[in-house]
């Protein structure tokens, strides 16, 4: 069983999947827009960065500061990327969920 510090919270799980969807390095605004468009989830920028920070501490995500640009008022982007450890944890979480879903019938009446 995975250690508690290595387990994925629900939003952490979603964020790692969005990072995989965006393929390669991605930054805060892109992540927020993908979340909104794909799963209609409107998270605050504060909650997004707090979760990304936790994922970095767990070693599932790495980040890198980019160049400042005009459309951001001269401020730099921080690019995030999923690590090999993050991919492995995601894979494990998927397997666990598939195992738990086996034999579950939501239409079954009690």
């Amino acid at each position: 069983m995975a250690e508690k510090s290595q387990q994925l919270g629900e939003f952490e799980h979603v964020l790692l999947l969005v990072l995989m969807q965006n393929k390669g390095k991605t930054y805060g605004t892109q992540l927020r827009i993908t979340l909104k468009e794909m799963v209609n989830r409107d998270v605050s920028i504060g909650a997004l960065y707090a979760t990304l920070d936790r994922l970095q501490v767990k070693g599932f995500v790495i980040s890198q500061l980019g160049e400042p640009t005009n459309e951001r008022g001269g401020r730099a982007k921080r690019y995030f990327e999923i690590t090999a450890s993050g991919k492995q944890t995601l894979k494990q979480a998927k397997q666990n969920l598939e195992l738990l879903w086996q034999g579950v019938d939501l239409c079954q009446s009690h």
Binding site: G28, T29, I33, L65, A76
Partner: protein
């Protein structure tokens, strides 16, 4: 002759919200988060929702983000602001229970305490130290030299102590004046109001001293952490 182009620059996010956010976010996240919000405000929110709704959106993001980082920023500006709000709310409640608010306000008493204490503090330190004391009390200024920290601490110490000393001196002057001028026949009607005004300077000085003490401790705590 060609018509001049009707050029209007893209609207900027609300300055107040940006300022609040900048003050409450950790220094290492400030740039990217403000940049992300700036980009989304100009490229998505304003074109899709209009300026008013985009501004509301920005304020909502600000409130939510401040809430998220409030607990993470123990030494941050929000902690100091909230303490100051609670402090003034407690004082206001005390004044409200005490009777009329107006009896706690006396301009000559303020003049007797605040300007001299400020001048003493500036004379003992510098304008630069005063600026640093305010910056360090209300912001996450991480790149700061030991000399600046010491200057800020010295300024707060002198300001708080000078306010107390000035109030003691002026209270004594008031007491001497009362004792010299009040006759036995008018004692009961005059002594009460005169004494109240006389000790108001002490009240103002204690407020200044308390704020200076908290700011001093906050700076010292950060300084210890830097070591």
């Amino acid at each position: 002759m060609p018509e001049p182009l009707n050029y209007s620059p893209a609207p900027a996010p609300p300055a107040l919200a940006e300022k609040l956010l900048a003050l409450s976010l950790p220094a290492e996240l400030r740039e990217q988060m403000l940049g992300d919000l700036y980009e989304e405000f100009q490229l998505y929110q304003v074109p899709q929702q209009g300026l008013f709704k985009a501004r509301c959106w920005y304020y909502w993001q600000t409130i939510q983000s401040i809430y998220v980082y409030l607990n993470k920023q123990k030494e941050g500006v929000m902690g100091f602001i909230i303490s100051a709000i609670v402090f003034f709310a407690a004082i206001s409640m005390g004044m409200w229970f005490g009777g009329e608010f107006s009896m706690f306000f006396d301009i000559p008493s303020v003049i007797l305490v605040v300007p001299p204490a400020l001048l003493f503090a500036l004379a003992a330190t510098s304008v630069e130290s005063m600026k640093w004391s305010m910056k360090l009390a209300i912001s996450e200024q991480l790149e700061v030299r030991v000399k600046q920290i010491n200057g800020a601490k010295r300024f707060l110490q002198v300001l708080g102590n000078s306010a107390i000393l000035m109030s003691l001196i002026t209270t004594l002057i008031g007491a001497v004046a009362m004792a010299s001028h009040i006759s036995a026949s008018e004692f009961s009607s005059i002594f009460g109001p005169a004494f109240a005004v006389c000790i108001l300077v002490l009240y103002y000085a204690l407020i200044i001293k308390t704020l200076c003490y908290v700011a001093y401790q906050k700076i010292e705590f950060r300084y210890e952490q830097q070591d």
